[in-house]
Symmetry: C2
Subunit: 541 residues, 2 copies
Amino acid sequence: MNILYIMFDQLRFDYLSCAGHPHLHTPHIDGLAAKGVRFTRAYVQSPTCGSSRMSSYTGRYPSSHGVQFNSYPLRVGEWTMGDHLRKTGMGCHLIGKTHMVADAEGMQRLGLAPDSVIGVRQSECGFDPWVRDDGLWAEGPDGFYDQKRSPYNDYLRQQGYPGGNPWNDFANAGAEDGDIASGWFMVNADKPANIAEADSETPWLTSRAMDFIEQAEGPWCAHLSYIKPHWPYIVPAPYHDLYGPEHVLPAVRSAAEREDAHPVFKGMMNNRIGQAFSRDEVRQKVIPAYMGLIKQADDQMGRLFAWLEETGRMRDTMIVITSDHGDYLGDHWLGEKNLFHEPSIKVPLIIYDPRSLADATRGTVCDELVEAIDLLPTFLEAAGGEPAPHILEGRSLMPFLRGETPDWRGYAVAEFDYSTMPLCSSLGLEPRDARLFMIADKRWKFMHAEGGMRPMLFDLENDPDELVDLAARQTHQEVIDLMYGRLLDWGLRMSQRITLSDQQIKARRGKSGRRGILLGVYEAEEVEPELTAKCRGPVPQ
Amino acid sequence: MNILYIMFDQLRFDYLSCAGHPHLHTPHIDGLAAKGVRFTRAYVQSPTCGSSRMSSYTGRYPSSHGVQFNSYPLRVGEWTMGDHLRKTGMGCHLIGKTHMVADAEGMQRLGLAPDSVIGVRQSECGFDPWVRDDGLWAEGPDGFYDQKRSPYNDYLRQQGYPGGNPWNDFANAGAEDGDIASGWFMVNADKPANIAEADSETPWLTSRAMDFIEQAEGPWCAHLSYIKPHWPYIVPAPYHDLYGPEHVLPAVRSAAEREDAHPVFKGMMNNRIGQAFSRDEVRQKVIPAYMGLIKQADDQMGRLFAWLEETGRMRDTMIVITSDHGDYLGDHWLGEKNLFHEPSIKVPLIIYDPRSLADATRGTVCDELVEAIDLLPTFLEAAGGEPAPHILEGRSLMPFLRGETPDWRGYAVAEFDYSTMPLCSSLGLEPRDARLFMIADKRWKFMHAEGGMRPMLFDLENDPDELVDLAARQTHQEVIDLMYGRLLDWGLRMSQRITLSDQQIKARRGKSGRRGILLGVYEAEEVEPELTAKCRGPVPQ
């Protein structure tokens, strides 16, 4: 069996018709859900790309692998999906985005050449890169563009798009009176991108995935990782005007949220992004474009799935669809992500397993609390590997595909580090204090903030829109105490004893005598003669 | 300046005359204390060799580096004392014991040859090994001996001691009627080891240190790491009979300790070691030998310091004397170490800095709570390096040498993992639950046990001998709550963001615009024109 691990970027859990969106129809993704299991409570481990992805790719929480925000290098030697899967004989390949930054100092210290096979894997978060493209390109000394080549820009140039950065000038821009109307400015979100639809990012990457699959041999896992519907919000025709302001759902927010808001929440509401997404004109420009990007993505899923069906691959390919985090889109007076409300931290998750073991669960939903770090253990089980709970902090989801009801976790955890944001200094905090932790169970969502601030608490049952922060009212101390107890358990979790498995630990018990170490022995007669044979007898001459 | 970092193994904090031992006179170590600062509350981070040492050599807590018990391999790539000091131009060398086990799988995955310079450093915990000898040798398929060569055994063979394992047959044994009287059997602890005193382990390693220093160039840090006074308890003449039962201090223990003991404490009292050290005959054999080993060590310090003085090196060498943990010696019905009472977790710590900056503190004591992980930051400061608090969890002790009164930590932390001990299974625990955490401040010592057990609590002010476990009496809930709050703070500490310093984090703030990322911008006019220049202008032709 092969694994096609599809990730969209910034795709909200509820912007799919199978998840209940009233205007956005996503029949192809819905079709996969009808053949698999859709998880309704799937949480990522960080509401930002880099951390969330490094958690998904390592199966570990951000504070376990250390990539607590975007562009923090992943330490050399950290075990990745590729390392685990290759041990089973399954290749692990990348087609698209990872947000990975290599630990250049660590690699240099270990003498790892960046262009060796090992060096490339260390640089690419354990994947063998078929295509690596993070999707945002800028020219110039500080930009991304001159540091790394963009295969997508190379493609556009081959297709005849001129200039040094055709992504910037065509894929990410409309045109107005001969001038670029950049997707970086949200006022342009309703314009069609100035590019043939087939040349835009999502179809381009879908084609690259088909190229990969066509030539792939042996069991493989392919991470097909789209940049979209992530900002900049702009999409080519016809997707740019499929949706209009009439399809924009009302923002989930209340005036009361702005009163006595938690300092971190308040800081984010008041930054440029929060302020922009609090404006109706921004939402009405951006959300139809965001929906158009998702509609295009769904159409590409249709194209891909039809091709997999035609070529017989639907029968031997596990397919996963998920996202690295959501998008506030103006809910809670916020844009983007970076906090723990559901639109930001919850993601779509659909798993289709072609094997008969999953027949009983096709088309069902699972409401258990699952985490993005559960995918790697799931893939490892699917690939026939040994579980590695001394390294992997997630748990295999295979029992849910088989229709079992395992004893499951009682809460999900996520983290966020805002130390590189100006908010950290405006709150007067040092970097290590600019960290947030979420504990969510089926009833409550709790946020702890380092730096001496109060927590946040929502009652998901009676306040599913998370509009009332109960921690501001000091009415739920018992729940808060419970959550702090869980946070302590989680904080003390064993996350770094990665060089020995539990089986190895157990096998060591009581063996020191056999290795020649005799402890607490007063006289030789107290222990078995065979253990003491080497320290008895005549003095050698 | 050079650094001579001397570690004894299993040397109790109070078995030195400068620390108040009434019978054991250690004038040479006392003399170093008279020229430096002696720390009276120095805690190691684990009461067992391997974990404690890996913490000292990485400047990090056991659950940060993952070596939570003896012989857990240190993950490849972990930053070590050698890595930090070499960045400053200072070499870092090993003479003696480390208890390091290489991460062979991790090295193989990264293609690191064990015999390359990088591979050797990864295998030897970052040191360049002048001599590596862990001091305990057994022959046979499961023993240590056939896996690694012992330079000490090589030396003994050169000196004419016969047989395959002269350490076992001579250094670690007396003789009785032509038979080996092994040091592994404590009944033999009062016999002289069957070896010339000058050939025994402590003088041998002292000579190797002098060899190293004589040839060393450039600034160097040398870790002179003795195996003794660690068990097996046997010492050559004349040290074997300098002390007798009349010099054995009464065991610090009470009958009440055995009633309602914490399950982990009880399990350790009842194991073979605890039972042995509860016997008076064992203490009366072992403690005089232990004192003899320390007396020999002190004499070797005298030899070494005199030579350093003669050769002018006392003027440019910082000298540290410490231990990796203590020894219960029957106190609290326990032998060896492995719990958090003072005889086990507190160590001697003396720092002599030859520079004039330390003149004001010579011969003083410091009662602040210091940790073994503070040494690496101290050495880094002494070597002129940049502090690295994103990696190093300890703090430089240099302010105390300068006579400053820095704002200092309020509590020390230690950990212990007993998952490889039979106690783990007899308590019905899985490996990850067999973990203990200590929080000690100047008044209280607290122990948390995973696995659903109650904590332990001692009042160090009113019960300095730690005989009354207040947590068994449920009288000090407020103190226990305070300690759990500290444990939460500590559990959430940022320990893995090791690839970026705080300065690098701060330098990133507000820079995304310059890298070409424009967030929350509705119209170009909202931001500085220079940031938007690349996304305005005519469409390229």
